[in-house]
């Protein structure tokens, strides 16, 4: 089990109903973690449309969640 902090931005925050939460997860990788979170919050974004970051750097979906890390699922960006 790893304890991670999840941050939400933009429409993902609206959908999750919070901007930050701490979760205990047994997910083997970040893809599995997203599947857990998406099911719990009813997130409609398919994982293929998102990127994921861990501790302020882009990460791979196959990376395992690190104990004590901050994980962010990143929907398509619209700056500029």
């Amino acid at each position: 089990m790893a304890r991670v902090a999840l941050l939400y931005f933009a429409s993902l925050r609206d959908a999750a109903g919070c901007e930050r939460e701490e979760v205990e997860t047994a997910a083997a990788d970040l893809a599995a973690l997203y599947a857990e979170v998406a099911a719990r919050h009813g997130l409609r974004w398919p994982r293929e449309r998102l990127r994921v970051a861990m501790d302020g750097a882009f990460a791979a979906w196959s990376d395992p969640p690190r104990e004590g890390s901050e994980v962010v699922f990143i929907p398509p960006v619209s700056g500029g």
């Binding site: 429409s11 398509p76 700056g79």
Partner: protein, 154 residues
């Protein structure tokens, strides 16, 4: 002015309106014969809808990191003396300056190219999102369409 061996590469987020003149000044170099800049403004319409203004939200830690990577890429790819980009976060009115890119170089091609590269990459990669307000309905987050059908904003 400046050291020709170390081009400036800087990316910043600004939570308030900023003045362009000192940013341009910061790109002046004795070896630079060209300067190009890009300003992105908030327009009063998008996708056929009347826009009253917008809010930019950033995941700041990663936005700064990815922005820094982009300006460093521009310095590596083009023969520039300096590249600088500032992106607003927070509330912006119609006509507000959302993003500024400036590049100085010995010759104009590199200055234009670096400017174009930075704005294109910033739009595609930096974790900043627009919450657009309309004068004819509720505001919404914008997430550009990629492959496949996007979920409706909830």
């Amino acid at each position: 002015m400046g050291d020709p061996r170390t081009p400036l590469a800087r990316f910043e987020l600004a939570d308030a309106p900023f003045d362009i003149a000192p940013l341009r000044e910061g790109l002046l170099r004795d070896e630079a014969g060209a300067y190009a800049s890009f300003e992105g403004w908030i327009r009063n319409h998008n996708d056929g809808r009347p826009v009253g203004g917008l809010y930019y939200e950033a995941y700041a830690a990663l936005a700064l990191e990815e922005g820094r990577r982009i300006v460093e890429e521009a310095v590596a790819r083009f023969a520039v003396a300096g590249v600088h980009c500032v992106h607003r976060v927070g509330e912006l009115p119609v006509g507000g300056l959302a993003v500024w890119v400036g590049a100085s170089a010995a010759h104009r091609d590199a200055a234009f190219d670096a400017c174009r590269y930075v704005i294109d990459q910033v739009k595609a990669r930096v974790p900043i999102w627009k919450h657009e307000r309309y004068t004819d309905g509720p505001a919404q987050w914008l997430h550009p369409d990629g492959p496949g059908s996007p979920p409706q904003p909830s």
